[in-house]
Point group: C2
Chain length 337, copies 2
């Protein structure tokens, strides 16, 4: 089986030097029209395609973007990945995918590998525990964009996320305005930005409406596992259980729902529910869930655009923090008290 053609084969066939071929390939530097045509012909004839590795070795960086997501099992991240891949393709960027499974150790490993491959940029949902490694990226001039979350210590990194505070406030207000005074929240871990921001929004709404905050109704849960269910069960076991609940931890919505069904809690009869989730099943289950829909397309688009721009150094150095509004969808899982 013949070996694939190289740039030298093309040059030989076109009767020019490799420099010329390289120039027509990359549009760097001038090439006379006739020669350009010959080169193009030769490329066509030999079905030549430049080897990415060679290019990368000589340039020192690549057009590959590392995408480091928490977990493709979560429809939110899966859809995000889908859009990122599509948007990246439109910009001739390749996506090298890794997942952290929310495990800092895996994240560290993944970041190291990504560095070995000299990725040209990164898009990721950081666990929050590998500050040094993310800083190293910056030190190596590899642009990074955080999507969905951020890390306080890494305030030099671009971020694309939804308006978490506002969204959580809207969700909470929705319940308060329907007469619920005992409103609980299941948030993400409080060492994540989404966790604290959404709790902040929740508290803000409470303050606005003059409702006292009850410690026991603010319950963080990890992104993995089924802890969300326990946490809700505990809230419901209180003397004065909540009549309204905001599930602000996307990864726990499913288990919470499952637990409520098993416990035969009527929704919205016994409990009014707002969830942070916009997956395609939300309106299929009974009752259809009132939800905060995250504009995944926008998150993906902005992320890709941002790394892309940074990779071509077309942006002032100041970190960008893009906040896109989320949509509040009133369906049937909430009712007046």
């Amino acid at each position: 089986m013949k070996k694939a053609a190289t740039i030298r084969d093309v040059a030989a066939r076109a009767g020019v030097s490799v420099s010329v071929v390289s120039r027509v390939l990359n549009g760097t530097g001038p090439v006379a029209a006739p020669k350009r045509a010959q080169v193009l012909d030769a490329i066509e004839a030999l079905a030549y395609r430049p080897r990415a590795a060679a290019r990368q070795l000589s340039q020192g960086h690549s057009d590959t973007v590392g995408l480091l997501l928490a977990d493709l099992t979560n429809p939110f991240f899966a859809r995000l990945a889908d859009r990122v891949v599509a948007d990246a393709r439109a910009r001739d960027l390749q996506i090298l995918l890794m997942t952290t499974q929310e495990d800092p150790h895996l994240e560290a490993q993944a970041l190291d590998t990504l560095l070995d491959r000299s990725v040209g940029g990164m898009i990721g949902t950081p666990t929050g525990h590998n500050v040094e490694r993310w800083e190293k990226l910056a030190a190596l001039d590899i642009p990074a964009v955080f999507v969905d979350r951020t890390v306080a210590e890494l305030d030099q990194v671009d971020v694309v996320s939804i308006e978490n505070v506002q969204s959580a406030a809207t969700a909470t207000r929705h319940l308060l305005d329907r007469g619920h005074t005992r409103v609980g929240i299941v948030s993400g871990p409080l060492d994540t930005s989404t966790g604290v921001e959404r709790v902040r929004g929740y508290e803000q709404a409470l303050r606005e409406r003059g409702v006292a905050r009850d410690e026991r109704l603010v319950r963080p849960a990890p992104f993995r596992g089924d802890r969300g269910a326990d946490v809700v069960a505990e809230m419901l076991a209180l003397d004065e259980p909540p009549t309204g609940l905001v599930v602000a931890n996307t990864a726990q919505v499913r288990v919470v729902l499952k637990m409520l069904a098993q416990a035969r809690i009527a929704i919205p009869g016994d409990l009014s529910l707002v969830v942070f989730d916009d997956n395609p099943w939300t309106d299929l289950i009974r009752p259809p869930l009132t939800a905060v829909r995250q504009p995944i397309d926008m998150l993906a688009l902005h992320s890709v655009e941002l790394v892309h721009a940074r990779m071509r150094q077309k942006l002032p150095p100041a970190p960008r923090r893009i906040r896109v509004p989320a949509e509040f969808l009133e369906r049937s899982s909430t009712t007046h008290l």
Copy 2:
């Protein structure tokens, strides 16, 4: 900012030649114990990590595996991707992700890019329309594994999929044995292997139970779009509408469900339903759906193991066709007629 250390820096610091370093790195060829130690020290001290691009250029192929999936929006593929990424990591393989969106043109493009990157192997869900390109992979000694589906013309490629015929037969039999004689099926396109195989299983069950096949009850639908809903609506509009339905097209389950809900078709009262799907929401909706659960972990594991083995040429050339059984889960969307 200092440049990252290269193999030469390591060699210099350890007082050996680059050859020695390369040898300890790859375990190729002998190295005396003391020198090995020095090299290891130097690597540690310089935080040296070999550049993947250089290695790849020199060796001609890489440890990157292209993963070409239809669509990460479909939970089935998303979960598959999640497992593949995890399994690949366990074997020190990297995953370069692309999606076809079931579009042959995008698939072709993706395959070309993957070739440029000299991926060491491929795992994919082929659209069925780029036979020459997949053959080219084989010609270049790049092992490919089809997962979930296969392509008839490409019988030299390894395949990992579920027992489609059997699973569809089981699902159909389940309905027939509950007295349903008018059983419909929404399959994938009939130019896909999953489409034809599942229809074949359906027909087999019909034959076994002596039920005549009605052309109008066998309705393929594309993997994209909402055609599945129309197709079901059409069946239900027949003089003798089906009382049982197998939705064997994973991508159409959601829209079918949505349509049935809108049309106020009671399940299983008006229609008994079996779906090919095993996503986490299947048991959350009312009623919980009787389903064929695809063992995604197994599909992923076998696929990765297969490429991995092929990449190290640890397998006889004959194509492998791995069929894993699917699980039939009886829940509450089916009932006796």
